[in-house]
Each structure stands twice: as C-alpha cells, then as structure tokens.
C-alpha cells in the first residue's frame, strides 16, 4: 500500500480538501459490456470523512454502479471498465497493482438484501477478522461483541450467538451484515439501499444506527427514499442518467436545489 501511495501522490494532491475527503472521484466514468454502454459519465465528487453522503436518483441512473465501484465490487461483472480517477486517501483504487482484498477490508459494504452467510451469528461477524488472521480467541470474542453492540444487535442475540444467522428476522439480518462489515474496522462503509427490503420499524432502527455510526465512519448510502436521504445524510449527490447533476449539503439540496432536474426529482415530478 505504501508504495502505491507514493506513486499516486500526485493524484491525492489534485483532490480538493484532501484531508477532509476520504474518497474522491474525478471525471470518473464506468462502462458496461466492454465499453458499449456508458453507465456513469464523468462524475467528480468526494465522500467527506466521518460524514454520511446519500446518493439519490431514479432507477438506472448509475448510483449503485458508482457505489459498487468504490470497493471494486464491479470487478465481478464481466465487461465492466472504468476511466478517470477514483481514490481512497489519495490512493488510486483502480491502480493495477492495488491489492483488491486489502482495499475491500478498508471499505466495507452492506447490500440491498440482507445476505448473512448460512453460518452461526458468531461466525458471520468473525468471518472478516478470521480472514485477516492474527486474532486470538479472546480478541475475536471482543471484536464480535463490540461489532454487535455497534450494530445495536448485541442485546437481542447475545444468548444465541451459535444459532444460524438465517433464522433471524430481516431487520436483524441486515444489522448483522452491518456488524459483520464493522468487524473489519473499515474506514468507509458503503450501503446499497440497505433498507429497501425491510419494514418501517427495522428501517428506522437502521437509520438510527447510521446516525450513530456517522462521525466515526465515512458512509455512502444509496437510497430510493428521499425522506431517508434527508434524515440520515450530511451530503447528497443526485445522479441522473449517469451524470452527477448536483452534489451538496443535504439541507441546502432539499430546501434549495440548484438544478431544475433535482428540484423535479425531489418534489416527485419523476423518478
């Protein structure tokens, strides 16, 4: 990592407010199908450290694609290519010599549908640390407990840590997935519509959780739910047809959007 960092020092300097910004995108484009389809077009924005950034936009606007590129989950998609710069702490995420595994340990991700492994609750949370290795039994117990407490799940599951995670409710499962991501002690947490498969009560618990986690983690959350974006985020980015239309402080964006499209979307004229 250090080597890569020095190599890409120039890139880091070019990002505005580098100290304050964890992830920076500059003229970043994403193509599917070996360049035939231009999904995200020249996006330039930054995720501020310790803040929650919401990414909103109608279906198919590229917001999820953009989010998944931040920890290179799109590598799994055949024919997905990128151009431009995307950097974490000044390190080019798409540098060919970058260790993707290491990157993903620093950028945790929570998916749209809760996807715990078919293992025990304990094993789910311990999965990441075990992969990283070098953790003793006692330390692992501690990590599991802290992560579950962080995800506000500890009290509900502390007596049945050895039960299968798939036996939990959907909301619990999603919080478990958050705990699992937190157990890696990531710097950035990406959330891809984390509440879309959940009922309102579970949704509000997750939102509370995001609130608690902000400050400590840099969080990017993709959501379809405008109210949710308004409630939980500090910054909001509005994507439309692959373009970043507007990016700014949430309060300002929802009260006084600069662009007409943003206004139309927020007020529900389309999307």
């Amino acid at each position: 990592m250090t080597e890569t960092k020095t190599q890409n020092g120039g890139a880091a300097k070019s990002a505005p407010d580098a100290g304050d910004i964890a992830v920076v995108a500059e003229n970043f484009s994403i193509y599917y199908d070996y360049g035939k389809f231009h999904a995200v077009k020249g996006v330039s924005m930054g995720l501020r450290r310790g803040k929650v950034t919401a990414i909103i936009g109608p279906s198919g606007c590229g917001k999820s694609t953009f989010l998944r590129c931040i920890n290179r989950m799109n590598d799994l998609v055949d024919g997905c290519t990128t151009s431009g710069l995307l950097a974490l702490d000044g390190v080019d995420i798409y540098h060919p010599r970058l260790d993707v595994v290491e990157l993903r340990r620093r950028i945790g991700m929570v998916f749209q549908r809760p996807n715990p492994f078919p293992k025990s609750i304990y094993d789910n949370v311990a999965y990441g640390p075990r992969l990283a290795g070098g953790v003793g039994r006692a330390e692992l117990d501690e990590i599991v407990e802290t992560s579950l407490r962080r995800a506000a799940l500890w009290d509900e599951v502390k007596d049945r840590l050895s039960n299968n995670a798939l036996g939990m409710s959907g909301g619990q499962q999603q919080r478990l997935c958050i705990a699992r991501a937190l157990a890696m002690r990531p710097e950035v947490l990406l959330m891809d519509e984390p509440c879309s498969a959940l009922d309102p009560k579970s949704t509000s618990r997750i939102e509370d959780l995001i609130d608690e986690l902000s400050g400590e983690y840099t969080i990017a959350i993709v959501t379809h739910n405008m109210q949710q974006a308004a409630r939980v985020s500090d910054y909001t980015a509005f994507f439309y047809e692959g373009h970043l239309v507007e990016f700014g402080q949430t309060k300002q964006m929802f009260t006084n959007p600069q662009m007409k499209q943003t206004n139309d979307y927020i007020t529900g004229r389309f999307g």
Binding site: N71, M73, L76, D78, V101, E102, R104, R105, G108, M109, F111, R113, N115, P116, F117, P118, K119, Y127, G128, L131, A132, N163, N164, A165, L166, G167, C177, R180, A181, M184
Partner: protein, 567 residues
C-alpha cells in the same frame, strides 16, 4: 373462459397427473415386489438337512448335535428308498435265476447232442438254403424251456447285473452252437456251408428271444439310471464312498432348499427322461411320469416311496441364512453366498469415487467460479456434455484399449482399471450436478465474502463450497449409485465371473467379481440357471438395496445439511 370451464380443466389436469403417478407407482410395485419377495428368499427360506450338512462340513457353522438329530431322521426315511434301490440293483434271487438259465442252456445243448442222428437226418432231407427254417424250428424246440426262463427273468428283474448276464448268455449260446457241431460231425462229415448254417440257425430263436429280453432290461436300466441320477441330485450321494469320489460340490450334497428340492423331485425323480425312437427312426428323449410309464415295476414303487417320504428325507426347517451376504460362493454360486460380488462392487464404486469426485468438484468449481465464456471453455463444456452421452460399453472398450493395453495400469483386468473407467463414465454427471449446486449458491454470498476482503479462493472455500455442499453431495452419491450398477464398463476392465473376494492390497492387479456382471452371468450363462433363481434374485435385490441405500443416504445427508444451513 368461464369459471366452470377453468375448474373442469384444473380438475382434469389433476386427475391426469394423479393417474399417471398411480401408474408409475403400480409399475414400481410390480417391478420391485417380485424382486423383494424372491430376493429375500435367498436369506430367509425353508432349508433342508443338506443345507445344514453344507454349513457344518464346509463352513464349520451350526450345531453338530442338531444336525446329527436331523440326519438320523432323514437317513431313516432315505433308507426306505435306498433299500428298494439296492434290492433292484442286486436282486436276492439273481443267482438262482441266472443259475437256472445257465443250466437250461446246457440241458438244451445236451439234448441237441443227443439228437445228433435226428438232426443229421434233417440236414440230409433238406438240401441247401431250404434247411435254414427247419434248423431254426428244431432249435426253437430244444431251447423252448430256456427261452421261457429268459423272458420270465427279464420281466421280473432288470438289474444291471442281469443285463451283463444276458450279454454273457449271448456269447455262451454262440459258443454252445459251435461245440455241438462236433457232436453232429460224429455222425457224418458236414460241409463248410452246412456248418455255418447250423451255427447260425440252431440258436437263432433263442438269440432272438434273448435280444428282446436284453433290450427290455437295458431300457429299464437306463430308466433306473436316470432315476438314480435324480435321486442323487435330490438327496446327495448314496454312500460315503460316492461322496468322497465326487469332484464337484453339487455332487457331494443334495438340494439345500426345499423349493428347489421340490422342483427336482418333480422334474428328475417322479419324472425321468427316457430315450425313445419315433416313427421316422430318430432317437429322441422325452420326459415321462415314472408312475405311469413303469407302472407295476420296481421303479414305480421307488418313485412312490420317494414321493411319500420326501419331507421326511429332506427335513425342512425355516432358516435365516445371513451368510448369503457374507459367505463366498461354492461351486459356481450353487452353494454359499455372494460376498465377493458385494465386496467387488464396493471396491469399484469407492474406487470410482476416489478418482471422479475430486476431479469433478475441481472441474465444477472451475466452470462455475473461474471460467469466462470463451471459446475454450465452451469447447470444454461441449466435451463434458458429449462425454455424458457416450454409451457405457464404449467406456468399457476405452478402458480395455487405453488403460489396460496402452497405458498398462495393470497386466490384465483389475479393480484399478475398472474404477478409472467407471470414474470417467460418471465424471460428466458429477461435474454437471456439482456445477448446478454451485450455481444455486446465491451471488449475494459471493459478494458478501468478497466485500469482507476474502480472496476468490478463500470465498469459495469458506462460503461457497459449504453452501453448495448438500447439492454436490447429492449429485456425487447418486453418481455412486450409478457406478455401482454399471455393467458394460467393467466387463472388459474389471469383472470376472468367478473368483474369491480379493484383499484390498490386490485391487491394483486383480480382477474381481461384481454384482452387475455376475447377475448377468448367473442368469444367462450358468448351466444350472433354473436351479439358482434365489441367488439371481438375491443378487438383484442386494444391488437394488445398495443403490437405494446410497440414494437415501444422499437424501438424508442433503436434508440435514440444508437444515443446518437454513438455521
């Protein structure tokens, strides 16, 4: 469409589906029921005293005291039949009869010598060929008593000794006729032609009578020999000496099973095959009922005795012969069990798994997790698909031509060569089923694992394989069932029809008997196929049981693992 029409459609479809399922079930029952009923008969059956003798003498099992009690009872019953047979073979009055016949012959020739003058006169009166009938008539007169005795003896008793005696009488008659010529010569010198005529014609009538008698005796003897052979087949050898002289085990013991014994009684004792000449003069053999054909003769009496004492002679008793599964076969499966075949099937199946499972799993992981849709991969997929469609006999030939003749994994047929061939046969199935199982693992698991910083290989090992395990195991175990039941690939590469169970260390060099091949063999090539139906059914049932067992293990294992995965 109206609601009522829709309802009728739905109902008729349900009815169709149900009836087709009912037909399937009925077919399965019709197919399995006889196999299960007859197959269990290989283990649980009514055994005769011969079965216990076999166990005691060959396998050193069973209680000697009980056997002694059974043998005593059966021997007592058999003695009735045996004494009849002995009486037939050496009749008590044979010496008397044979002596009487011999002295009658001597008396007849003495009389002929006495009547020399009378005889020469006949020759003088009838010149040339005209004398022949007269001489014959003259002979018939002096041999009248003798012929009567011979006919009577042949009617009363037709033991082998009698047949021999009658053959001797023929020569004695001819010798006697030659001797009496000298007496005639004392009266006047006879010409060569005359001598010949006298020699031929004097005992002609007696010889004709003798010929008819000995034909009857030899026919009776052939029938008795067939009957005796049947009794041997049913009860085993009559004497200890016969038993020791017998080479094959089937000649050392009688029928061990009551059902087969009853069959043998009906087919070879109460009925026997006799030779007969049909109208066109061809020799044929036909099966006749002893009681009818030989009515009133000692043979009919023997058959009646055998029928009446049948149960007492066999001493039937229900028995559970677990050794059918654990004993070696003796005398081409007529006695003993099928252990070497079961063991061979086990070796071949496990061997095939050892080769096919790792290869198949690795290939499936490659296809499902690593391969991108390129030309090479598509070609590989096509190869796997083609391999799955190749007839199994071709795999067998491949095993022979490539593995044994070219690569020389072993000198000739061996378990190793058979296992590799079977492995190749089931490999496509394993690859397919494992790939399907891997594909059913939700992509979200892969994403989650990778998102948590697992490398691809770690993600496969820690998350994807465990999640796919139930499906993979099911596919593998069902393929095992297929391997256990395949016949064609092992014909050329691994199977022998006979042979003992082989040790684990010999699997690299030795061929082995195996259930599928031996089922074919003892059903179609066995010389006594109709007498060992229980073994055929027993083998089939065992094979089906193995396959069903494997399949149910697969189902149970999958359910358990899935429950564990679901939580």
């Amino acid at each position: 469409m109206k609601t009522s029409t829709r309802k009728i459609l739905d109902k008729s479809f349900s009815a169709l589906a149900l009836s087709s399922m009912a037909i399937m079930c009925a077919a399965a029952v019709a197919f399995l029921a006889p196999i299960i009923i007859n197959g269990s008969g290989a283990v649980w059956f009514k055994a005769t005293v011969e079965h216990f003798k076999f166990l005691r003498e060959v396998l050193d099992r069973g209680s000697a005291r009980e056997l002694a009690a059974m043998t005593e009872k059966s021997d007592a019953a058999r003695e009735k039949l045996y004494s009849l047979m002995r009486a037939y073979e050496s009749p008590a009055d044979f010496k008397k009869i044979s002596g009487a016949i011999a002295s009658a012959r001597r008396a007849a020739f003495a009389e002929a010598a006495k009547k020399s003058a009378e005889f020469v006169k006949i020759l003088d009166e009838n010149k040339g060929a005209a004398s022949a009938p007269v001489i014959k008539k003259f002979g018939a007169g002096i041999f009248a008593d003798y012929s009567g005795l011979v006919s009577g003896a042949a009617k009363r008793s037709s033991s082998p000794a009698m047949a021999e005696f009658l053959a001797g009488e023929k020569e004695a008659l001819q010798d006697g006729a030659r001797a009496v010529l000298e007496d005639f010569a004392k009266i006047r010198k006879l010409s060569v032609l005359e001598k010949g005529r006298v020699r031929r014609e004097l005992p002609a009538a007696a010889l004709e009578n003798l010929g008819a008698a000995s034909e009857k005796v030899s026919e009776d003897n052939a029938a008795y020999a067939a009957f005796k052979e049947g009794v041997w087949e049913l009860l085993g050898p009559m004497t200890q000496a016969d038993k020791e002289a017998a080479k094959m085990m089937r000649r050392k013991f009688g029928q061990t099973r009551m059902d087969v014994a009853r069959k043998v009684l009906g087919e070879s004792v109460l009925r026997i095959r006799v030779n007969s000449t049909d109208s066109s003069g061809r020799q044929t053999s036909e099966s006749v009922l002893v009681a009818e054909r030989f009515k009133g003769t000692p043979l009919a009496e023997m058959a009646k005795c055998a029928e009446e004492n049948f149960t007492a002679m066999m001493q039937p008793r229900n028995t559970f012969y677990w050794g059918f599964l654990f004993d070696s076969p003796y005398d081409s499966n007529i006695f003993g069990g099928i252990f070497p075949m079961i063991l061979g099937t086990f070796y071949l199946t496990v061997g095939a798994m050892i080769f096919a499972a790792p290869l198949g799993i690795v290939a499936a992981i490659y296809f499902s997790e690593y391969a991108k849709n390129g030309r090479v991969v598509n070609f590989l997929r096509m190869c796997v698909g083609t391999l799955a469609g190749v007839p199994s006999i071709v795999f067998g030939l491949f095993g022979l031509a490539f593995l044994i003749n070219t690569v020389k994994v072993s000198e000739s047929k061996s378990v190793l060569a058979g296992s590799i061939t079977l492995a190749l046969l089931i490999l496509p199935t394993i690859i397919r089923s494992c790939e399907e199982a891997l594909k059913t693992v939700p992509n979200s698991y892969r994403e989650a694992a990778l998102g948590l910083g697992a490398g691809k290989w770690r993600a496969i090992c820690t998350v994807i394989l465990p999640a796919a395990l139930p499906g993979m195991l099911t596919g593998i175990i069902i393929s095992m069932g297929r391997a256990a039941g395949e016949t064609a690939p092992i014909i050329f590469t691994a199977a022998t029809s006979t042979g003992a169970a082989i040790a684990l260390a010999d699997v690299f060099t030795e061929a082995t008997p195996a259930l599928p091949w031996n089922i074919y063999n003892i059903c179609s090539e066995h010389e006594m196929a109709d007498k060992i139906e229980h073994v055929q059914y027993g083998m089939v049932l065992t094979l089906i049981a193995i396959v069903l067992l494997l399949n149910s293990v697969a189902i149970v294992l999958r359910d358990r693992l899935q429950k564990k995965l679901r939580g």
